[in-house]
Symmetry: C2
Subunit: 152 residues, 2 copies
Amino acid sequence: MAAYYFLMFLAASGAAAVTGSVFRPGRWYLTLQKPGWTPPRKAFPIIWTALYVLSAIAATRIALSPDPAPGLALWTVQITLNTLWTPVFFGAQRMGMGMIVIALLWVVLAATVVMFLMTDLMAGLLMIPYFTWVGLAAALNWRIWRDNGESA
Amino acid sequence: MAAYYFLMFLAASGAAAVTGSVFRPGRWYLTLQKPGWTPPRKAFPIIWTALYVLSAIAATRIALSPDPAPGLALWTVQITLNTLWTPVFFGAQRMGMGMIVIALLWVVLAATVVMFLMTDLMAGLLMIPYFTWVGLAAALNWRIWRDNGESA
């Protein structure tokens, strides 16, 4: 069953990852003013891939635990919000709405980390890099939105 | 716990639903040739809302069942693919890639229905309208793609 769960959670992460190749940071994004601490563009796909693998391992551990449903329900919400963010920010170029989505994602990820830690210590720890990275991404969304003022 | 699960699955469905308001069928879609059996536009948000509620109830029943993880893993994959489809089709206007996403969604929903039926009969039945509707939506995607030929 471990392989089945891992493949399922990797497939769900794959759907989220596909948004990054469909809605690439194009000319619009390149012309935006970005803070000095913006990570280099090439880092994003590498980091995201690693985070998706870690979070799929974490969810697999939860799925195999005696009480999987509360944590898996949270994991489901976070991967759906993650899939939504890229199309909203890079596709529709709605920085304000992107901010709402990524803030919600961050809150749900915080709850996921706590729930996972309570169920399986290692699963919780495996989610922390992802949670940290989304915090950085949210801060970046905020700064770009503030520095390039847009109504929606 | 039932209310917690229902809210989580409704939230995940809500993220999928938001794509429909961010990427509306605009001028591009209106000018496409569509088959005579295309449902009226006003029907879509009403039908999707009903289907999301039914599928959230179904997932809640599975979450409360003795062996929730196998079914919930599939439910997670389907809601992520669902969230991906609208941005790909209406946002990026990639009808061919939309076809791949919705075909995968249909296959995953078929597996979800079977898995749910084996775990909880009512949960499986509650997913059947959603599965049927996505079959229709996939056929519509196919016809629109074929009749309006596009490379990607």
